[in-house]
Symmetry: C2
Subunit: 137 residues, 2 copies
């Protein structure tokens, strides 16, 4: 079974990079710097479905995404005060990890960002700039 | 600086175990099997504050908690259909990881469990039984 990104992700995010384990997407929401990491192996649902070495690599990529989120937040004028890292999957089953930069003046603080309305797509120029930053090696 | 559990955790959870890295608490909410893992090192806020070997151990303990949550859910008649694993910390800063067992007929499905009212403390007998299961080696 080949890995394919669930089409549900296309509604709210855009491809940003492919790292050794994960397909990385930028959530298209100008309220938060927000990345979604999708391990590129078919059939994964839970973190514990990962092999040990995949889990270790996911940890590395979560750390990388955490650093990148701070960079994206600075660039977008949304400086990160707290990272939210979560794997839920209640709606879209394919294993994915959210890495979201939060700040005390963001529109949903201190509540979680998931399952709440109000997404505001990035202006196209800003989105392109963030994607360039995310694509840097 | 010595590690101390933030007193904010006392309002809604009870001590369940101490694993090699984490102090483990049972969220006192009969709607969900729910554990909170608090790495026992002072001053931690973000996952990326962990040393590499601590991150690897946290991964092991998240996997252990994931298995335990399934056991607790079975015991409590709340069979787990999806695991939610998250570190937010928007309200309580001390680094902690939630491992929550969700099911399609739970009261908040498919929304996240955090920041929502409606906590229902476990009946004392049920809480004691879950704590016995959690304390097993």
């Amino acid at each position: 079974m080949a890995f394919v990104v669930d089409r549900a992700f296309e509604a709210a995010s855009v491809p940003a990079a492919d790292w050794p384990l994960c397909h990385v997407r930028l959530q298209d929401d100008a309220r938060f710097p927000w990345l979604v990491l999708i391990p590129r192996r078919a059939g994964l649902v839970e973190l514990i479905d990962l092999r040990v070495e995949e889990g270790a690599q996911l940890w590395v990529e979560i750390a990388r995404a955490s650093g990148l989120i701070r960079v994206l937040g600075e660039h977008a004028g949304l400086p990160v005060e707290k990272l939210n890292v979560a794997t839920l999957g209640n709606v879209t089953r394919q294993l994915h990890v959210h890495v979201v930069g939060r700040r005390a003046d963001d529109p949903l603080w201190p509540d979680p960002v998931w399952g709440r309305p109000g997404r505001e797509p990035w202006p196209s120029g800003a989105r392109a700039a963030l994607l360039r930053l995310a694509a840097a090696p």
